[in-house]
Amino acid sequence: MAYRLIGKNFTPPDIEAKVTGTARYAEDFRADGMAHIKIWGSRMPHGRVTRIDLSAAERVPGFLGALVPDDIKQPKPASQAILTSEPTFYGEPVVAVAAETEQAAADAIAAVVVEMELLPFVVDPLESLKPDGPNALTGGNVTGSGIDLQTIKWSGRDFAMVAEGELPRGQVPVEWTYGDVEAGFAAAKVIVEESFVQASNAHHAMEPRSAAAYWEGGKCHVWGSTQSTAFAQPGLAGLIGIPLEDLVFVAEFAGGGFGGKAGAYPLMALPALMSKKLGGRPCLLRVARKEEYNNGYARAGFQGWAKLGFRADGRMIAADVFTVQDLGTTTGFPDFNGFGNALATIHQPEAMHYRSIPVLTNTVPKGAQRGPGEQQCANMIEPLLDKAARELGIDRVALRLANAPGGGGQDARYGGKRDPVTSAYLREAIAKGAEQFRWAERVADSGTRTGSKVRGYGVASGFHTAGSYGFDGLVRITPDGILHVHTGVGNLGTYSYASTSRIAAEVLGYDWSRVVIERGGTARHLPWNLGQFGSNTNYTMVRTNYVAAMDAKAKLQEIAAAALGGAAADYELRDERVVATADPARGLSFAEAAQKAIEMGGKYAGQALPEDINPMTVASATAIAGTGLVGVAKDTLPQTGVVPGLSASFVAVDVDVETGRVDILECLSVADCGLVIHPQGLAAQARSAAVMGFGLARTERHIYDPAYARPNARGYHDAKPMTILDIPAEGLHWAAVDQPDLVNPMGTKGIGEPLEGSASAALVTAISDALGGHLFNRAPVVTDMILNAAEGLPQSHKPLATNTV
């Protein structure tokens, strides 16, 4: 089918504001009498507050008020509080003050006296699992999504029975198996067994999580920075302690999130609570970079062990994997699930045994970060595939082709439960990439040395579940004929809020210039949409906008039948008119139909609504009722299987064995994202995901002082995200399989996350390739590791150490 809008580039309506500086982010909020908030963060990694003295702070000129933990409703254990009396990581907020100016607030914070009693703390998960190891929280050391807070200690025997550098493997709360793993290993020609580490790293969104709020007329108005305009609202209302209908939320732009602003978070609610204390006075919390590090979440680090068995043709027939996830101090995100499910999906081992234990440490809370679990899996497992290929004497791409799901994915299965998938073309992505990259020809140069530089090539795959269902769509045609697409998708910068809104225009046959996207806050009357995270937006909100547009289409036909006679089925949509199929001259313009809808009322104008839509959608549809033809529906389209976003990346590097420098020469990423609905947006995601992946592979990591658990990578300079000089000037390429998903009505699915993981792991394998297949079993692969490997020297870190190297 030829689409008018799908698959075409367009100019997103918000982009001009970004280049002119008129885009308003949370910290750009201004109001008369605005007070400024500063927070006092813990100086201890884990402690109990014994005394708070605000007397000196109250004497600072301009001081307006303070909040202490007793003023705040405290969450359940292993959850992050807005303010806490038992901070569990350095920098966790304990006290907040408001003052006339930010300087006065800073002076008042400097005058706050907090006395604390030091409690046991730990930064390495394995240390906490030792028989006498400290617990990061008073109530235990192990928790996680679906796992109660508890204490688990491994025995001395668990630690003693493994070889030096091998991951101990004791009791775990997560375990699943499918197939006959032992039989697989018995039949394997090659078995690879390694232990490994993936470091944690900060999200470090460019916009810190600043927020502003005031109260007026019983409503709480909040300016926040979030990836998810609709989805964040219930959580934020809960943090503030108000019903959802009393929240007025504005989040038109978000200066980055990467999972760290997926929904609401504690600091977003702080200005609202302070404003309430000050009688509704506007309050702005400007979060500084280092405060953002402390409170802005991080990717969970992993320590792990894997034993993989392969047939002679490279097919993975058995996998036994054990991971230890660094949770930080909260239940965090179940990266442990993502790790195991990614391996099981990308490589489709015939039998697999997976064990994992998420462990609390006194490091910053971990949240979902782009490809949570999947990226760590890619960086750790892909080098092991290379080792297997070398031992089997087969090409590294050939080994991946032997395992990758493809051909549509009818035989592919997702994760440990072996659920079906909606489509899978990873094999095709790898093959396409190998051809476009000229893999077979170029890999002959692997290890070629020119001066001090050695050439290496890498290949890897990426995965993330990339779609959901069951949310609502809301569109409106006003009597001027304009289509309004209401979307609760956030504005993370992928422009999928717009590309998915174009689905409604496509269904109704609209000229794009006559479409208005209503987004960015409650005043725009948003439907209940899933957040802009998890690579789901394309798949999920294509469905919601499709069902809303189909509802509008049906209503247009019914209105035409009512006005002009005949049955609804006698009418079709053509050039923004609803016309009789038999006589296209007989019909109504959409503008006329919208006016008719207002006159007819009821379901046509949003006064009668479907019973199955979410209360947020009910409120929004009710607010716009009577202003036009309202299309509103819950996505009840058929859904079978898990939606896999898949990708393959190919990287070429020169590794300078005298300096440890890595020049990334080229990266090609190939996406299996179903039908491409916005090519330029996909290009931007493919290239930028590679950049973020390079940081994950090469430079970004948390480092804590092991003696005091103080973080040392709180700024950009220390955290080392990639700069423009770290990437090839003209070497980032992309392609797409462009095969439609078999379940989504428009054949599309998400891709933002897989592209980072595949590029990252391809870089790790390329560096390893340049060094003759040397396995670092650790990411990021930093410069001193490369130098040590090149010179045959031992590494300066202990094999499984994390957070401290």
Binding site: A106, F258, R286, A689, V691, Y716
Partner: protein, 227 residues
């Protein structure tokens, strides 16, 4: 400890990344000198008198603004931003980013790190890009300052860099974009036909956590064809 110290007071430029060691006119721009001094201590330290320093009134503060003292005249300065001259009351320890954002209400300039690492706060001072978060406002009095809001023509016509950034879908989250626009325009002002390498160097002081560098670079090169 932030490790950020004062820069050479005899040179009218703030510290910047190593790549900016040589200015477009060949003048040397000093690198910063890391000192064991916190940013806060540094900002306090620049207040040379013994008067209370907690009076940095922001635009909407009335309490401290009303607290006139003997230094009030010294704090007044003329600031020319985007062609308009403002007379503003600025404490000596205030950075240009805060003056622009909180006194002049020009919120296009972003504060991403507040420590000269990310470039989201880049503005032009006398045609040179500077990190406004690490430039004291009193240091740039009587100089021509251009923020992202001053890049387009008064009639709203976008600068070729802005239009090219749109055409190349360069911004993602957009928080670094104002700084990218300023850096790119400053480059093309002095070097209308840069090589790719020169364009990369010009943007090397700007971080983009989304990783959209490639599309920004394409934008600069596209704009160069149109200038």
């Amino acid at each position: 400890m932030d490790g950020i110290g004062p820069f050479d007071p005899t040179v009218g430029y703030p510290p910047g990344p190593a790549i900016r060691e040589i200015g477009p006119d060949g003048s040397k721009i000093p690198l910063w000198k890391p000192l064991h001094m916190s940013r806060r201590a540094f900002l306090r330290g620049v207040v040379c008198s013994g008067t209370v320093i907690a009076g940095s009134a922001y635009l909407f503060s009335t309490a401290t603004a009303a607290r006139a003292d003997a230094r009030a005249v010294e704090r007044m300065l003329r600031l020319t931003v985007n062609g308009r001259t403002h007379t503003v009351d600025v404490p000596p320890n205030e950075t240009l980013a805060f003056t622009i954002r909180y006194r002049l209400g020009l919120t296009g300039t972003k504060i991403g790190c507040n420590s000269a690492e990310c470039g989201a706060c880049n503005v032009m001072v006398g045609g040179m890009t500077v990190y406004s978060c690490s430039t004291l406002t009193h240091r740039v009095r009587d100089k021509e300052i251009t923020t992202v809001e001053g890049i387009a023509r008064p009639d709203g016509t976008l600068h070729p860099v802005q239009q090219a950034f749109i055409d190349e879908l360069a911004p993602q989250c957009g928080f670094c974009t104002p700084g990218m626009v300023v850096s790119a325009v400053a480059l093309l002002n002095v070097n209308p036909k840069p090589t790719i390498e020169e364009a990369r160097l010009a943007l090397s002081g700007n971080l983009c956590r989304c990783g959209a560098y490639d599309h920004y670079l394409r934008g600069v090169m596209t704009a160069a064809e149109r200038v």
